[in-house]
């Protein structure tokens, strides 16, 4: 079976760090978007139409907030997977180090 190792120890460590950071930060962003924080209004993809043609304000904007929140949670989930892969790479690297010496 070909080696599953495709990155060196430093790259794998970077992967773990960015994954942990990504999970925490994206999860918190998701929570803040779901809480409809006003500070994040510029990051929500609304247009003038959404505000003007809103039959039941501010539900349009709220639903957009929820959408972005869910996006953030999905991205956090993907980073969990990336973190798991990086962790495997770190373990494989350590094992290879033992075998060579």
């Amino acid at each position: 079976m070909p080696s599953l190792l495709f990155c060196g120890p430093k790259m794998a460590a970077c992967g773990i760090v960015i994954s942990i950071w990504g999970v925490i930060m994206l999860a918190m962003l998701g929570i803040f978007f779901s809480a409809k924080s006003a500070v994040l209004i510029e990051d929500v993809p609304f247009t003038e139409e959404d505000i003007r043609k809103d039959t039941n304000p501010p539900q349009n904007i709220y639903s957009l907030y929820n959408q972005v929140g869910i996006n953030c949670f999905i991205a956090a989930g993907i980073y969990v997977a990336v973190g798991a892969v990086s962790l495997c790479q770190v373990r494989l690297n350590k094992r290879q180090e033992y075998m060579v010496t």
């Binding site: 500070v39 990051d43 957009l64 996006n71 953030c72 991205a75």
Partner: protein, 736 residues
Amino acid sequence: MCSLLRGEEMCLAQLFLQSGSAYDCINELGELGLVEFRDLNPGVNAFQRKHVNEIKKCEEMERILEVKKADISLPEGDVNPVAPLPKHVMAIMEQLQRLEVELGEVTRNKEKLQRNLLELTEYTHMLRTTRNFVQRTSEVSVFISGLIQRTKIEAFERMLWRVCKGYTILSYAEVEEYLEDPDTGEPTKSVVFLISYWGDQIGQKVKKICDCYHCHLYPYPSSNEERTDVVEGLRTRIQDLHTVLHRTDDYLKQVLMKASESVYTWVIQVKKMKAIYFILNLCSFDVTNKCLIAEVWCPVNDIPTLRRALEEGSRKSGATVPSFVNRIPTNDTPPTLIRTNKFTSGFQNIVDAYGVGNYREVNPAPFTIITFPFLFAVMFGDLGHGVIMALFALWMVLYENNRKLKNTRNEIWNTFFEGRYIILMMGLFSIYTGLIYNDCFSKSLNIFGSGWSVKAMFEAKVWKDADIRGNRVLTLDPNVTGVFRGPYPLGIDPIWNLASNRLTFLNSYKMKMSVILGVIHMSFGVILSTYNYLHFRKKHSLYLVFLPELLFLLCLFGYLVFMIFYKWLVFTAKDSRLAPSILIHFINMFLMQAPTLHRLGMYRVRFDFADEFLHQAIHTIEYCLGCVSNTASYLRLWALSLAHAQLSEVLWTMVMRVGLRMDTSLGVFFLVPVFGLFAVLTVSILLVMEGLSAFLHALRLHWVEFQNKFYSGTGVKFCPFSFSLLPSSFEHDGLL
């Protein structure tokens, strides 16, 4: 305990060492690292000193060890062998020389064998290739065969033709594989040639030409049976040579491994010995020529330890008369020793980088432990970045005993690692200032609920729905009831993150804060100078230097700070239109300042009284102008914090927002690489670049604006004689 504030009290001591036990006593002192030796023979050059022969022997051994170091591995754990006695030195020297001779022999043999192997390989190729040449066997013609480099074959052919003019026949073919050249060891392309000629004279000419072109000649077999015999013989010989070379390699590895066990110990032992002889050279003999005298700088608190060390050394060497120490009075200024632990050493290093303090002068380092990270944090001020910086430093601190981290040779990493406690403090303080500025990755956190209410503007009928549709920007009026419900409990109100006039508000706040912090920092520096005046018993300076300095600083810039606080406290939102401008007020005050200039004129008239007066006048002018420029210099606290906030906001807007605003169904997968890019750019630009920039500016504020109020920094650092401080040559080569 006063050591960190002022430095240890030092004294000059004389050591009386018996000749027999001098070596052991200095050995003990080297292990402890207590004292700094003074050179008692400054006029003598290196070749005339007493122990020059021993030092030469040590250097000879070092040279032999130098060559061997590259092939050996390091031992596990910390090995600390003691310096050998002079009688053991010969044994070590002999072992080293034997090792050198043996390794030299083995390497030479190996080279010879390899060259032999290459020649045989070439011969085999030649025989194989010339088999296909068509020959005209004749009784008279003689054959010469060999190999020549491909680059030379054409010139060779032409030369042959010109010299021998048709009495020779040359046929050649190229060898496909790259063969290693026996002389240079590089892979080259060769050509096999076969010359047939007749006549003796032609033969000599041909041989000379072959010589000229550096051909490798090999005997040509006259018949096919002879050829097959030779090929067989060559094949067995090549196989044998391969086996022998393999064995030689193994043997070489064994010898090196055995040597490597002791080489590391020898290196350290030779180094210690050389250091001891170097120190012995610094000592002088007394009148009776039996006792060695050494002069050392020693901390007063360590004199008992020094006595014990000398007793130990005398006991080890078995001397009957013990060596002793005697304190002597002196007018020379001792070197400065400040004892630090792993936490304070980083801060002491950055103070020492500006200048080592004079003997027993107030040391800025204990104050720097707090003010430096604080001023850094004022310029860095972001909660998220502070958390990342603090976590990075925490990782370094928790793993500080890990050998791999401690002993890498990457200089940049070593710089960061040495300053791990500084970075930890900077990160923690940045978390605090991030909370105050309410800035986390350029977004504000609404922890307590904003003090501003937009709804109140509608309830008071100031705004209508039509206003929102018709205007791009609207201003909240704090004078309307219910709009401003009170200040935010901790930090800047999060509503400012959404305001378009955010920078106008923050700039005013940050500039005023910078001036306040600057005046406090500088006043503290001026006050610290009183400790120096009191300690060095210059009470007159207290009244003639300190008081005028403090008065000038506080009356001008203290008044500015007072005006800032007064304006903040007295003027509310109601009378904000009437609030006076502090800057205009301050400048007007200066423009009416004729009397002060007049006073400076009086100083100038009296300057020819003494050097002291001239010095004082210069100091006064420098101080006054310096106060103005230094106060303005503290405005960099505002400038850098503004730059950091803006960079952070730009990064979020240009990178993260692009990923978040994706509303296509597959857009969510775009957020993953976008966040990765955001993380990398945050670390490289905002943490590393901005961090280094803020570090540099905080350092400059300390070195110039703070320290020139009280610190002279023209002292000499105490460098004790210690074996652990000798640089190991392993470290020099990056192996340790």
